[in-house]
Structures are given as structure tokens and as C-alpha cells.
Amino acid sequence: MALFPGKTLNPLDTAIASFGNGEAAKVDRCVRVGNLALISGWTTAAPDIAIRGTFFSQRYPREDVEREIGPAGSGFLKACHLPGPARHLDLQLRVGRQRYRSRIEISDDPAIIEALGIEQQALLPELWAAAQQILPETATALSQVFRLTMPAAAGGEPLVVNEKTAAAEHQPAMPLKAESQTPPSAAAAIDEIIQIGQSGFLVVGWCITTEPATAKLLLTFHPQAEVDLLDDAYRVARPDLVDALGPMIRTQAAQAGFLSYVRSPSEQAPLNLSVRFELEGSSIEMPPLPTVKRFDHPIDATHELLKHFHPGGQEMLTLLDHQLGPAIANLPFRHSGDTQSELIRFGEAPAEPKVSLIVPLYGRYDFVEFQLSQFANDPDFHTAVDLIYVLDDPRLSEGFRDCCAAVAPIYEVPFSALLSRDHLGYAGANNLGVAQARADLLILLNSDVIPSQSGWVTAMLERFQAHPDCGALGVRLLYPDDALQHDGMLFKRLPSLGNLWINDHPGKGLPAMPVDPEQALVPVAAATAACLMLRKADLLSIGGLDEGYIIGDFEDSDLCLALRQQGKRSYVARDVQLYHLERQSQALFADRNWRDKITVYNCWRHSRKWDALISQLCAAEAL
């Protein structure tokens, strides 16, 4: 069995064994002449190719190799004796103390034999002389095949076995034209290692075996602990490997890649990482591993992690359940409990507010003036509301302070500005605001929600208090064109997304149907937190909004479900209508693709957390 670690294979490295530290080797031709095999190719300085039965080995300068990889590269010609009618030749590659094995095909093609003869013309006399020493009949065959005119006195040149071991420093081998496809029998590489907080790493790489065999990639880290990266790894297609290693691995390539979340048993950052490649008893050390990627902010880490994630289908769930999901969950996101914030008060707040209204801000704060221009005309905001803006975006702190100071004297709506030192995400920002809330009742409000008329806070209050079992009260939200945006949410499975539960907005984009004032309060599965009233005590009893959702999504239905678990229901007051400029906040993310992936992650998390309760609620609904 042959092992061949292909570290930095790229699609152009056709049939090149590349060792990752800049060392590379390639066999160009392997032909049969009588009972000899002649092997030509090139290597960088360090690698040596050993073949059983070799009686001739000569290195020589090769212009093309030097041009591509520098002076360390040189060509070789080797000859070995073939004991029988073998079709393959086993090679051992030596790089320093490491040994790799590979198997190549022996060609009988006259055209290739002739090509080798033309290329190696200069060395053929020496080869002939060496053959003459030990296998006279073979020397005859050589002279016939290559039409050699031999010098009368053939010198007995000793075999040259290159024993260079010093690793030369130079650029990785560049591609040379391949003329024989000699894929390795097994190969593996580690592409990326991403640190996941203190909890471990996500390892990304690939591994193929051309023969049915069980390979192991054993990761060792401090303290002594070994984990098989391939065990329970998520396998992904690596079509790029087909180009690199040849069409023979086409079937394997479909499953060649892997992602593996390795949990570190220790709180300490692992010190020494190494990977051993094991295949049916053979075992080699992988070349030095890539530098572990570490990210200052977990958001950047999720960006990196989600590069390897392509939403859709059942397979997605496997990846989320076993690798990506736990990895993201273990990133050291900041939480509201351990972040600092700055509180600035503007105007004289009502002494005994009935409602604390919390508006998180991220990415932009120009909505503040638009909202204040509406709130200013509403008596509630001068007598009953404790308005709290939470800036969850430290980049904007300075501009936000100035903005507040500029608009506050015009609109004279008292409010608090709470500036978070960290970006916490939607849940964290709200929780930070809740900690400052002075009223027993809360309204969570998006900054892009604009009231359609004054008195809406009192209207919500009345409806909330009329129903003792009410835990969360949403409202009817409209787009600026008066199309319905939210009238309550329900849970639906989405087949194209691994059958996860999603929050459906029935009627979205359609005309908002008139409501009978007597039946305007409707029980719903969940209501959006774009505008949601609830008791502060209830929220605190469930531990606040769940900060495990990244950036923001699903916290509202999570909240409604958590309250539901305590027997408190969610309602929507369809006769209280506000406008929601939903698109404005979605446009904040330059990388839509990444944002969509985050949504899928949050959706997965929400589904896994609440599957039982949602199923139960949906079943009850169906009866």
C-alpha cells in the first residue's frame, strides 16, 4: 500500500508530489526495456526516490525545471532491474526522515520509450556502461532500442544515489507539463485550522484513498490526546482535486473534503498540533500544518467558518448538528452580562413610566430623528414612556452621541442613549436596554418601525392588560405601501432547508384586510419583536432574550415560545398598526450571502431548541 501526502496540491500540479514545505518531485516517464525499467523525472533538492533493484541513478541539470522552481531542481534518470513481467513499480520517496510510497505504471508504449531515449541521449552511454557491468544482455537490448553506439571501453561508473537531506528554501514547485498520469494511491491534506475560542478547532482538509481502505488522520494536541479527524467528519465534494490528481479519483472527490470540529479537552490553547496519516497499518507524519487561524471577533470567525457552508438539503443538517453548529455556538461571543456600556440621558424622563420602550440600533442611527419626529407629537412619549435607544455598534458611538445631542432639543422627547462597548447582536442589545428599563412593561421596537398615529403605546397597553394570559403582544405592521408586513407569525417546515422550522408571515405583501374591532386581538404562534410588548419580569424569568442567535433573527419567536412554555400566550393586536421599513435594515450587510447563512444557522438553532414544542403546537392547531 502506498501513501502519498499531497499537501499543497493545486489543480495545476498534475501528477506532482508536493510536500508542502516547498519540496516536490515528479516522475515524467517509466518505461520497460527488456527486463529493465527506466524512470525519468525531477525533484527539488531534498526528495529522493528509491526503487528496489536500482543499479543506475544519475542527476542532471534540467533547464525547464530550473526555470520553474529555481536552481534546487534537477532531473534524474534511474534504471532498475525488473524481476518479472511487472506492470507497476513501487517507489519510495524520502524527504528528510519522512518516507512516502507510491506506485507508478510501467509503459511499453514505443513512442514513450523513444521519447525517453531522445531526452536522455546524453546519459544513455553511462547507463549502457552501468548495465554492461551487471546485466550484459540488457545492455545489448538498450543499445538496440536506443541505437546506441557504445564506446569501446566502458567505464565502470559507480551508482549514484543522491543523499542530499538539507531542505532547500525556495518557492513551491510550479507546474510542469505532465506526460504520464500517475495518481497517488492515497493522499490527504490539511488546508485550514480555525481556532474556536477556547473550545477547540475546526479543521478543514481532504483525504482520498484509491483503494477501499479506512484512512485515519490523527490529530495530536496538547496535552497528549489524539482525535481522528475523519471520524464523524462532515464530508464535502472537492472537484478541484480531480484536476490536481487526475480523473481516477473522480468518484472519491465527491466525498474527499472534510470539516471536523475538534473539541479541545483542556481550557488551555493547544500548543503542539500534529497530524498523522494512517492507512492499513502504515503511518506517516503529515508535513507541518498550516498556521492556526485566530480571529479577534467571533463574527469574523463565523465569516470564515461559513465559507465552508452551503445551505440546502438534509446534508446541511449533519454539518450544522455535528461540526459547524457546535463550533459557532462555542465561539466566544460577547454577552450583555459581561459588556460595559455608557448611559446618556436627554430630557426629563417621566418619573413613573408605564412602559419602557427599547430600540436597538446597528449600522445606522438616522432613524432616531424620524422616530422622534413622530413620537414628539404623541402625548404618551412625554408622560408614560421610558424611551431607551441602545447603540449596538461601537464604531458609531461618536456620531450617535452628536446626533442625540442635536435632535434632542428639537423634539423634546425624553430618552436615554445606551452605548454598548461591544457589538452584541439583537438579543444582547435588547437585554442591555432591559437592564436599564424602569417600567414593568416593555416594548421592544425596531428603529425602522414608524407609528401610523399617536396613542399606539396606550392602545397596546390596554389590550395587553385586558388578557391575563397574554405574555407577548405584537401589532399589525405595514410596509410603506400599506401592504401587510406582519399580522402574527406561524411555524412552518421548509423542505428546501432541511425541513427546519421557519417563521412564516402569512399574508405578507398582500393587502391588510380590515379587522372587526371586537375580534382584533388574535392569538398567534409567535409575534415579531419589531414591535412587541411584554412584562419585564417575564423576560427576566426566562433569562432575557436568547443571545445565542448570531446578529439577530428568531429571538422573537424564541421569546414567544419560552413564554408559552410558562403558559403565557402571544397575541397580535391587529387594530394597532405601525409601519415597518423592513428592507432598510437588511441592506446593512454588504455580504448578503454570509448574512443568509447566518439566518440559516439561527434557524437551525431555533428549530433544534424548540422542535418539540413547535411540533406540539402545530399538532394542536391541526386538530
Binding site: 419626529s373 407629537n377 432639543p409 428639537i410 410603506p480
Partner: protein
């Protein structure tokens, strides 16, 4: 009684209908012994003092040097000038009525500050707003004309407006932005006690838009003018001297007047003389400039394009012509030039839409033609050239509302009790 008149410009610096109307009213109030002050916005930075946004042009005439880059939302660059400087101005003047003529170059926030003053003044204070065009409704320069097609627009909505403005420089606007703009303006407008519309059409348009406060139709009165004698004619000569007076831009439809020459009957086409008085052509887009230049070259002996004129030249200008043409393709409100034509005793031809059509009664004091149609305008000109009909129209002209009438009506609003008081 002390009144603060607030306008978006001062006619000594910029000549626009709204600016002139505000200024005339201010002057008339002072004539009547009302302690009126004018606060007029200007973009002339060179006139500004350091450390204050205010300067004086004449006694009681205050200039406001604000910066407004956000024309879309009509918001000043700095709100401090509102809650610091304008607040100080109000505290110092202690007006009994604050009469806005615009918020352009000022900001919606000035209305809110005025309302704050009203709430804390300890005396009844009236907030009056004279509407001069449709800027609060329409982000396409307040014209209510579709940006790309020049079609008339009758209704604003975030979606429709975003569609209309999608090609408008400097950038397209989303429905959400248009919605927010509207909410901001409406919230400020809700603080006004009483609106004034110089035409019934304007009132109707704002009522349809949802203004719930009373809107009085009071025309922008002008100081009295002396009707001029008809231009003497040789026997058999037609009334073939037409003129356009005013700004030149694509909404004013000057190009339609020029095109109409081609639709005149050959005889009149030979005799017709058209004078264009006004500035602004150089600021217009190249297509319009080229169109006008081509027509000028085609009718070199009929067409005379003059530059800007001063108000005290009006008598001379009207004296040289027979009929005023106002071919606007936008609704207009109550164009001052129609009142001036009436004042000087000259029949008018105008488009049959909006605020202008109610100022011209077809066949009585002028003629109307089908908006945007050069052929229809040519037919009207053909008719007006007939000395007999022309004389009949001239006799049909009624003197326009004088500034005295306007001032009396407006003063009534200043002293009217607040609905809540």
C-alpha cells in the same frame, strides 16, 4: 401685534413668486402699522457674520444663512441653528403670529421650534403656512410631474414616487426613504394652525394629500397696477405680439410656445412676434437649450429671447405686447405673472390645468389651451390675434386681488382664536 414672516428667499437677492408674495405681504403689514419682521433664507455665504446664522438686509428684514444639503428631507445641516439660534430669535421677537411661506433652505424643524415657542409663549400665538407649490408632497422639485416622462402626477405614494424618481440625480430613492420624508414633513405640518393656498386647486391637492387643518384660499395680492392702453395697431394688423415672462425651465413649457409658431397659419406666422423675458435657460439641460436654440434659428425674425427683467420694467414690457402666454406643463399654483397681466390689462393664454386655469376664464379674460400641445396653443394664439376677440378679452379682465385684500384676509387668520384656545 408682532408678526414674523418666514420665507425661503428674499426678492432683493432672488426673484421667485413665493419670495415676492411673502415680501409684499410683509411690506403691506408694516404699512398698516403691524410690527412685522421678515426672516428670509439665503445661500449667500458672503453676507454672513461670524458665529451667527443671521444678518440684516434692511430694518426688520433678517437674512438667515443656513446650510441645507438634505433637500430631500428638507433638513438643515445643523439642528443647532434651529434650537439655539432660531429659538433665540423667537425669544427676542416674541411674535404673535409666525407665518411660514416655505421650509426650503430652512427645514421642517423650524416649524417644530415655532410650535415649541407657541406652547411656551404664555400668550396666543398663531402658526400660519402659505403653500406655494407641492414640494412637501413631491420630491421632484415639487412639480407633481413625472421626472422621466413629464406626465402630470395627481397622487404621491412611496412606491409611485420611487418609480418616478428612479432616474433622477443624484440618486434614486427607495419607497422607504420617500415614506420617511413624508412622515417627517407631515409630523411638522400637523403643528400648523392654519394653511393658506393661493389657488383652490392647491387647496384641493393638499386636502387630498391629507392635510386636516383649515386651508383658506387667499391669492397672493400685488400692489395696485394701472391698466395700460392697448398697443396701437395699423388698420388690418393682427394682435400678433405675444410674450412669455418668467423663469425658463422645462416645466414652464417655453419650448411649446416656440413650437407653436410652426402651427400658426402662414399669414400670422409671418407677422407674429414672440418675446421671451426671463432667465434660467443656461441652467437647463442641454437638450432643452438645443431645442430652443434650433427654434430661434428657424424663426429669427419672429422670436426674441431676452434676459432677466426687473419688476419695475413690467409696465414697459407689457406695454409692448398684446397677449401673455403661460404654457406651463406643471400644475402651477397661482402664477404672479397672470395677476400682473391682469393688472396691466393684457389678456392671457395658459395651459388648461391646475392653479393657473382657475385664474384665466376661457373666452372671458383669456384663452386656455391643451397642456403640452403646441398645435392647441397655436389655435389659441390665432384666435387672440383677432383684434376684435382680443378687445373683448381685454374688457373681460377684472383687477386682480390687491395686496390690501390679501393682508386683510391674512390678518383675520392671525387674530382668529386657536381651535384649542
Amino acid at each position: 401685534m408682532r408678526v414674523l414672516m418666514i420665507a425661503h428667499g428674499h426678492p432683493s437677492l432672488i426673484k421667485g413668486g413665493g419670495e415676492i408674495a411673502a415680501y409684499q405681504l410683509f411690506k403691506e403689514l408694516r404699512e398698516r402699522g403691524i410690527d412685522a419682521y421678515l426672516l428670509a433664507a439665503t445661500r449667500e455665504d458672503a453676507l454672513q457674520h461670524g458665529g451667527t446664522p443671521f444678518s440684516m438686509l434692511r430694518p426688520h428684514e433678517i437674512l438667515f444663512h443656513g446650510q441645507m444639503r438634505d433637500y430631500f428631507n428638507l433638513s438643515p445641516d445643523s439642528l443647532r441653528v434651529v434650537w439655539h439660534d432660531f429659538r433665540q430669535l423667537l425669544a427676542q421677537l416674541q411674535p404673535d403670529a409666525i407665518h411660514f411661506h416655505h421650509i426650503l433652505h430652512l427645514g421642517t424643524q423650524f416649524i417644530r421650534e415655532a410650535a415649541r415657542y407657541r406652547a411656551n409663549a404664555g400668550k396666543p400665538v398663531r402658526l400660519i403656512f402659505t403653500l406655494h407649490e407641492y414640494l412637501p408632497i413631491c420630491a421632484n422639485d415639487g412639480q407633481m410631474v413625472m421626472f422621466d416622462s413629464n406626465e402630470l402626477c395627481t397622487e404621491a405614494s412611496p412606491t409611485r414616487c420611487a418609480y418616478c424618481l428612479k432616474l433622477r440625480p443624484p440618486r434614486p430613492r427607495t419607497p422607504e426613504e420617500l415614506f420617511l420624508r413624508e412622515r417627517l414633513i407631515r409630523a411638522a405640518f400637523s403643528l400648523i394652525d392654519h394653511f393658506i393656498a393661493p389657488s383652490a386647486f392647491l387647496r384641493q391637492t393638499y386636502q387630498r394629500w391629507g392635510l386636516s387643518q383649515p386651508i383658506s384660499v387667499i391669492d397672493n395680492g400685488l400692489p395696485p397696477m394701472q391698466p395700460l392702453a392697448p398697443r396701437p395697431l395699423q388698420p388690418g394688423q393682427p394682435r400678433a405680439r405675444f410674450a412669455y415672462l418668467g423663469q425658463i425651465n422645462r416645466y414652464k413649457g417655453v419650448q411649446i410656445l416656440l413650437e407653436a409658431i410652426g402651427f400658426l397659419e402662414p399669414k400670422l406666422r409671418e407677422q407674429v412676434q414672440i418675446d421671451i423675458h426671463g432667465c434660467g435657460l443656461v441652467d437647463q439641460d442641454e437638450a432643452l437649450q438645443q431645442q430652443i436654440e434650433a427654434l430661434r434659428q428657424r424663426y429669427p425674425s419672429q422670436l426674441h429671447i431676452h434676459g432677466r427683467y426687473d419688476r419695475d420694467e413690467l409696465g414697459r414690457l407689457f406695454n409692448e405686447i398684446d397677449t401673455l402666454v403661460l404654457p406651463s406643463i406643471w400644475w402651477e399654483n397661482s402664477p404672479l405673472v397672470l395677476q400682473e397681466a391682469k393688472g396691466y390689462g393684457r389678456p392671457m393664454i395658459c395651459s388648461d390645468i391646475g392653479g393657473m386655469q382657475e385664474k384665466v376664464t376661457d373666452g372671458v379674460d383669456g384663452l386656455r389651451f391643451s397642456r403640452g400641445s403646441a398645435a392647441s396653443l397655436a389655435r389659441a394664439m390665432q384666435r387672440a390675434a383677432d383684434p376684435e376677440l382680443w378687445e373683448q378679452l381685454r374688457k373681460g379682465i377684472k383687477a386682480p386681488d390687491s395686496i390690501q385684500i390679501t393682508a386683510e384676509q391674512v390678518l383675520g387668520l392671525y387674530t382668529e382664536a386657536s381651535p384649542g384656545a
